[in-house]
Amino acid sequence: MTQAESRPEAARGRPPSTEERVLELQGLSKSYGAVHANSDITLHIGRGEIVALLGENGAGKSTLVKQIFGLTRPDAGRIVIKGDSTPIKDPKDAIRRGIGMVHQHFQLVPVMTVAENLILGHEPVRGGIRLDLAAARMMVRELSEKHGLAVDPDARIEDLPVGAQQRVEILKALSHRVDLLILDEPTAVLTPQETDELLGVLSELAAAGTAIVFITHKLREVLAVADRVYVLRRGRVVGTVPTDETDAARLATMMVGHDVILRVDKKPSTPGKAVLSVRDLVVRDNRRLTAVDGFSIEVRAGEIVGIAGVEGNGQRELVEAIAGMRSPLSGTVRLGDRDITRFNAADTNAAGVGHIPEDRERHGIVASYSIADNLVLNCFDSEPYSRHWIRNISAIREHAIALRAEFDIRSASIDATAGSLSGGNKQKVVVAREMAARPRLLVAAQPTRGVDIGAIELIHRRIVEARDAGAAVLLVSAELDEVLSLADRVAVIHAGKVVAELPGDLVDRAEIGRLMAGERPGVPPTDHRSDGES
């Protein structure tokens, strides 16, 4: 995790930033109900400076930049832009005052073209009414040449790969005069190579005088490109430090508040018989494009197999196909001796598959149900929780009381609604439910996304315990660190295929990064972008 040496050249050759302040925040506070998303935040950024906002999920980074961009108003404090402290009314006002933003969830209309998206809000018009799309195309071409970000102005957003969508999003921000560019988690969806490209672009922009605020929770990127770092924890700035004077370990400590290195204590695995065998699986996504393309893997009892890969390479569809939520086009999924390829979600569950879904709020819980009801979501129809279609309320409650204690679910009672819990406790509800039935196979997709350190530790421990008790575990995670620390074996997925299987103790991030980008082991690098589209 000490990647300071991989800092791109562009970042080093940059002239030092001036003292002129583009943005200054003074005592900014914002609450949602009882949650203090931001408290008393003070920071500043000068021309040509790259500042990283570093913090865990839920530390208040996104709330902070939403206020700078005029998407929400602060409860207290001032935002000063180039010496002007007039409150920012709305995004239009922010844009007018020279702020550009690259959102975490791209703010692009999927069914429209690149050119249409770029002109939205300030459309060129011919003859007073007619949209001037020719001028829009010209503008896209000029912008993309100027910044070295190639895009086709007539492509529809939804047809573009994620990396290209992000280039559009950046161009959109740059289509105005921009003194301050804010990027909210821009690298979450990129391959390591695309990330390096992006960091290069940022360095060039900064060299040309743009101030850049860069939000991330990845230490490597901070050290690679930023001049200074503000670390946020629970809505507060807990420290600011020039990148030259720090390292990854110190930043990590500041971020989580105590020395935590994601290392899970586990014994070497003693794998048994194959529990899950996936053969040549082909699955289509919601747009009917092939997402999983001839995927094969085997997971044995008592072993954790981690799937590493950039998001959007078929992981979601793979998990849904195994869990019976999506019907594969071809190929087979076997659980022990049984063919479960065509099983629906209920049958898969009954066959002994536990599934921690990727999207907790959407699939994992029913927010308005009590914890007790959420804990029987996968078994409400079987004894003892119901008999002859009649629900057995006392059995359901006993079950809930036991699991609440076992998984340390922190709530007022088992009757509290799941929606009232924190992210980590919601996730504990999901994990408890899926593990309660002692499944033969546990499929865990992003099991610790957006949860606090305490919950991460608990969930990791439980996953390892399940393995030691003989379960097969398939772990899918966008956090490479999580995969590397938990998995006994790592399969790298790219474009819906396994491109390599590695033993879990191989910790060569650079090698895994190349594999994630679709490069074959030992083959010289190819252009991964054109590769991903076919």
Partner: protein
């Protein structure tokens, strides 16, 4: 490559289908002039309120607001226009009152769904029920229009055989419906307003970050769309029949929604879809004289057709992604 092929096929279909229908119509015209003319005229006669109603829906849904209250908007407008014209002895006042009634109901829908973020389906159903209540409570029998609505013959165009008689020898509202569809089509796909409207219906938070006031634009669009629903209702009571009867919209507001879907939320395709309904209806009426079909079955046809069309079209067309979902600033995706 595949893109080019589908592009050509789509455009071939778009140009070819109406052309084929036109050729067929003229062939038929050649065989039996009177029947062909009356069938085409009947078809358009039936289609006019559906076009206007469906376009009301198109504007609303393209902006992200589902309007299931078109039926009620039309009914109120039919009522208001007819009784105003009867009371003031002025057709102009009647038409104005009808359009105003459509706009008022539109404003009510906009307030409940956009401002108050009420469930759009419930709001629409409530509007329909209130419209039924108002129009039956204030109903008086015996009122009459001072004169019938004028029939206009558009110079030159009305002389074209078949087409002229169908589209250009009609009343003012039918002519308005004919003109407004291409205008709206242009506006939707070629103007600033259209680009923004589509953006707020597809991905409102993108529009919001581009500085567009999503909720204000939705509000204004739903209110403006009320003009078309008002015209549709006015057409029914003043131009098509010169009378008002209770519940006279008879589900046309819902047929209009089906036509909107069948027309894939595109104004020109909506006209084609409405004409398809019109022709089916005209054909059934025509057949009734030839074969022995009970009258009731002919009346039923549009409803059954709606169900069939929805069952076929629903899976194939894509609705604006954000329709039905209230937009709350700062909670965007």
């Amino acid at each position: 490559m595949a893109g080019i092929v589908t592009w050509q096929f789509r455009h071939l279909l778009a140009i070819g289908t109406p052309l084929l229908i036109l050729i067929a119509a003229y062939l038929f015209y050649f065989v039996d002039q009177t029947v062909a003319t009356s069938m085409c005229a009947n078809a358009w006669f039936f289609a006019v309120p559906l076009v206007l109603g469906a376009l009301t829906g198109v504007i609303g849904e393209r902006s992200g607001v589902v309007n299931i209250g078109i039926e009620g908007q039309m009914l109120t407008a039919a009522f208001a226009s007819f009784f105003t014209a009867a009371a003031t002895k002025s057709l102009v006042a009647g038409v104005a009152a009808g359009i105003l009634a459509g706009v008022a109901m539109g404003a009510f829908l906009a307030w409940t769904t956009v401002t108050a973020r009420m469930d759009q389906i419930i709001a629409g159903v409530a509007i329909n029920i209130v419209a039924t209540g108002i129009t039956s409570f204030f109903y008086k029998s015996g009122a009459q229009l001072p004169v019938n609505m004028p029939q206009w013959n558009v110079p030159v165009l009305s002389k074209i055989p078949l087409i002229g008689e169908t589209f250009f020898q009609t009343g003012p509202i039918a002519l308005f419906a004919l003109l407004i569809a291409p205008v709206l089509h242009f506006a939707m796909f070629r103007t600033r307003w259209g680009l923004r409207t589509r953006a707020i219906g597809e991905y409102p938070s993108a529009a919001d970050t581009a500085g567009i006031n999503v909720n204000r634009m939705r509000f204004v669009n739903v209110v403006l769309a009320g003009i078309l629903a008002g015209a549709a209702g006015t057409y029914l009571s003043m131009e098509a029949t010169s009378s008002f009867s209770r519940g006279m919209t008879a589900g046309r507001g819902f047929l209009a929604l089906a036509i909107m879907i069948f027309g894939a939320w595109r104004p020109l395709r909506v006209v084609a879809a409405a004409l398809f309904f019109g022709f089916a209806n005209a054909l059934a009426s025509q057949l009734q004289g030839v074969v022995d079909i009970p009258q009731q079955f002919v009346t039923l046809l549009p409803y059954v057709l709606t169900l069939a069309v929805l069952a076929i079209a629903a899976g194939r067309v894509r609705a604006p992604a954000a329709e039905g979902v209230p937009f709350i600033k700062g909670e965007g995706q």
